[in-house]
């Protein structure tokens, strides 16, 4: 693996499968009475969050702590965009404190990339979501969740599995990272959105696209719903929340069109009644809560592999 995890595109198939396999081993830890390994003892992981995201931060925090790393939470709300301390000065501060890994969430696309390549810090940089760019550990935990439910018995993993991702692709870092990673893992991705919520040039992505959710659902092995912010309707991306839900929301009627084994995912936080109805979110098909559990295991695997723990975690390697 590379030294940083900035984009899901940084991962080769071997890298990605190593993360998933490592996560699988680490996940078993959750069932033990003592949930802690000494793998990263003496290492320091900084959670640098320029944007509020409690769920992602506590997931990384739990992951680092279960590997015995020291964790520093640095909530730098108000980036240089809002005239606070600059990204550079924050980075220099962390460098001076001796961070081994910086987990960064930032509202500006490319901020983790900038951090990793500017020479401001020497530590590994993990992108925990940057603007409308990427969220690679979310994609890894999504893939891990799919893999646990749908991996082919012949060892083919997710090859040929059909994943339908629905919603605000334009503004979604989750969609970008998932499209890249799932392609690497051999899955077939279909993005579904109204034309206004596709980025220009999506034809060049390694995915299928559709404006018609009903047409995409019957063949899906996975349906992943993306959060849609109501504010988007004020910017004319769609006329009303009601119309959006009617055309692109996953409700009980649409759920009945799915194959028996098909799972429903959502990266959270959900807007119930907007992109997903409560009966779907709480149904047996929903693996939304499991995604959260898997998030900790996947982030443990990522931190362990990036920091190359001085001893095998559970048989992992650098």
């Amino acid at each position: 693996m590379k030294r940083h995890l900035l984009s899901a595109g940084d991962l080769s198939r071997d890298d990605a499968e190593l993360v998933l396999a490592t996560a699988e081993e680490l996940r078993s830890l959750a069932d033990r009475p003592i949930k802690k390994l000494p793998a990263l003892r003496g290492r320091t992981v900084v959670n640098l969050f320029f944007e509020d995201s409690t769920r992602t931060r506590i997931s990384f925090e739990a992951a680092a702590k279960r590997l015995s790393a020291d964790v520093i939470n640095f909530s730098a709300k108000g980036s240089s965009l809002s005239k606070g301390e600059s990204l550079k000065d924050t980075a220099l501060t962390l460098e001076a404190m001796g961070a081994d890994a910086v987990v960064v969430r930032h509202g500006a696309s490319g901020a983790p990339h900038r951090l990793a390549h500017s020479g401001w810090v020497r530590s590994s940089v993990v992108n925990a979501g940057d603007g409308t760019h990427e969220h690679p550990t979310q994609a890894l935990l999504d893939a891990f969740t799919m893999w646990r439910h749908l991996a082919r018995a012949d060892g083919g993993g997710l090859d040929g599995r059909r994943v339908v991702i629905v919603g605000d692709v334009l503004h979604s870092r989750v969609a970008r990272s998932n499209a890249l990673l799932l392609r690497t893992l051999g899955a077939e991705v279909t993005l579904v959105a109204p034309p206004t919520l596709f980025p220009v040039g999506v034809e060049g992505w390694p995915v299928e696209t559709s404006y018609d959710l009903d047409a995409a659902l019957p063949k899906a092995d996975v349906v992943m719903m993306l959060r849609v912010q109501r504010e988007r309707m004020n910017a004319s991306f769609f006329p009303t929340a009601r119309e959006y839900s009617r055309r692109y929301g996953l409700d009980g009627r649409r759920m009945r069109a799915l194959q028996d084994h098909t799972i429903v995912m959502h990266p959270g936080p959900m807007v119930r009644g907007m992109e997903i109805t409560a009966d779907v979110a709480d149904s047996d098909r929903s693996v939304i809560v499991e995604q959260v559990t898997n998030g900790v295991a996947v982030r443990m695997a990522v931190l362990y592999l990036l920091l190359g723990g001085s001893q095998p975690a559970v048989g992992g390697e650098e």
């Binding site: 980036s79 550079k88 500006a108 490319g110 760019h133 040039g201 060049g204």
Partner: protein, 429 residues
């Protein structure tokens, strides 16, 4: 005032000859000239061009003297071969009154490195709502003829129409920064496949082209002249070409960086490449070069935009738009236009000196190198190659996108009315 005898110089790349500069004018041209007491410059292998004229320079003074001053900016201009620059109006305070433009003009005179022609704001405070006192600026000591809200677009069609009409009274021109504001809210880079992948908000070509098309129609309707700043897309070139074919009085400029660099550089997320309008695709670069070669685009203008380090040493979205340009413009034009055979040296003189002076109604610059003409001359060595060193710039800022890049050519000397501002590639004082 010194007398200079320049030996063996290729005027516009022609046969080598001697030039005698005395009393601020070109005194003699011919082979084997002699002049007692003259400083002799051996210009064997050098090309002589008329002093370059930039129609689009940000000198930042008053207000942002941490980024550039009139003095530092004009030093950079002289090193780039310029003898005249037009200082854009987006200073603090905005150059929207006679007082501010006269101050900038006077600072230029005092610095003495090149003539500074202030550009006046079209609207009060660049707000796009009410016309600034254009006549007062035109009648001031600064004799403003170019008006622009550059940095912002005069997007209101009525305000633009009135401005185009009003400046006819003093033979002025409105230089439009063509950017439809609603289509570019939060825009960060060229809208295309790459902006979608990088998650950076797109700046679509149509936002430039729609305004240029509208302004060409407006200019034709009211019979005014229009100048289009920093044309950056193939579609804009087509629109300007069509307007010229119809006989409309439209001129256009292209920036050196849009002739060389492409939007692929945004993938570095290094805001040194963040500029407005943004770097475009390779196909746009091709079209801009072709448009400059065939005269659709009249001039090269630098859009020299200094920014202090902290405004570039940050994440892309937080960074300022703009890049330095004065000291590298001629080299970029050589690399992109002359070396590939798209333009000869007289073509360069037309697009970087004669035409910008005509558009700006500057009488004493952009003149031919001929006996009796003002001795505004640049000597340029096209045979050398140099590696750009950002820290060596005369600008107070360091935001050049070419740092570490090897470029052809070097300005060896610049003469402003017969006085050397640059000699041996260095500032004369």
């Amino acid at each position: 005032m010194s007398t200079y005898l320049i030996r063996n110089v290729a005027v516009l790349g022609g046969e080598p000859t001697d030039l005698l500069l005395a009393d601020g004018v070109v005194r003699e041209i011919g082979t084997g000239l002699g002049a007692e007491g003259a400083e002799v410059v051996d210009a064997t292998g050098l090309v002589a061009l008329p002093g370059l004229v930039d129609l689009h320079t940000h000198l930042r003074e008053p207000g942002r003297e941490d980024a550039e001053t009139v003095e530092s900016g004009t030093r950079a201009a002289a090193l780039g071969g310029f003898t005249a620059v037009h200082a854009m109006a987006n200073t603090e305070p905005v150059a929207d009154t006679a007082g501010v433009v006269e101050q900038v003009w006077r600072l230029g005179r005092e610095a003495g490195y090149c003539d500074v022609y202030p550009v006046g704001a079209v609207t009060v405070g660049l707000q796009g709502e009410r016309l600034a006192e254009l006549g007062a600026m035109a009648d001031s000591a600064a004799r403003v003829r170019v008006f622009s809200d550059d940095g912002r677009c005069v997007s209101d069609a009525v305000v633009m129409r009135r401005a185009l009409e009003y400046v006819k009274a003093f033979d002025g021109v409105v230089a439009q920064h063509a950017q439809e504001p609603r289509l570019t809210e939060g825009a960060q880079m060229n809208e295309g496949e790459l902006s979608g992948r990088l998650g950076l908000t797109g700046w679509p070509a149509v936002a430039e082209e729609a305004v240029i098309a509208r302004d060409c129609l407006l200019a034709a309707h009211v019979g005014s002249r229009l100048h289009v700043c920093h044309v950056s897309t193939a579609g804009s070139v087509e629109i300007v070409r069509d307007a010229k074919r119809k006989g409309w009085d439209v001129t256009a400029e292209v920036c050196p960086h849009h002739l060389l660099l492409t939007d692929e550089l945004a993938a570095t997320y290094d805001p040194i490449y963040k500029v407005n309008p943004p770097l475009r695709s390779a196909a746009d670069v091709e079209a801009l070069r072709a448009g400059l070669a065939d005269g659709t685009i009249d001039i090269v203008a630098t859009d020299h935009a200094p920014h202090p380090r902290e405004d570039k040493d940050c994440e892309w979205a937080a960074a300022a738009f703009g890049m330095l340009g004065l000291e590298t413009a001629l080299s970029i034009v050589q690399e992109t236009m002359v070396d590939p055979g798209l333009l000869d040296w007289s073509g360069v003189a037309e697009r970087m000196s004669h035409a910008p002076a005509r558009i700006g109604r500057v009488a004493d610059h952009g003149r031919p190198i001929a006996v009796g003409e003002p001795a505004n001359v640049v000597l340029y060595d096209p045979s050398v190659r140099r590696t750009v060193d950002a820290s060596a710039s005369a600008s107070l800022s360091r935001n050049t996108p070419y740092a570490g890049r090897e470029l052809p050519g070097q300005v060896v000397a610049t003469f402003l009315r017969g006085t050397a501002t640059v000699i041996d590639g260095k500032l004369a004082r």
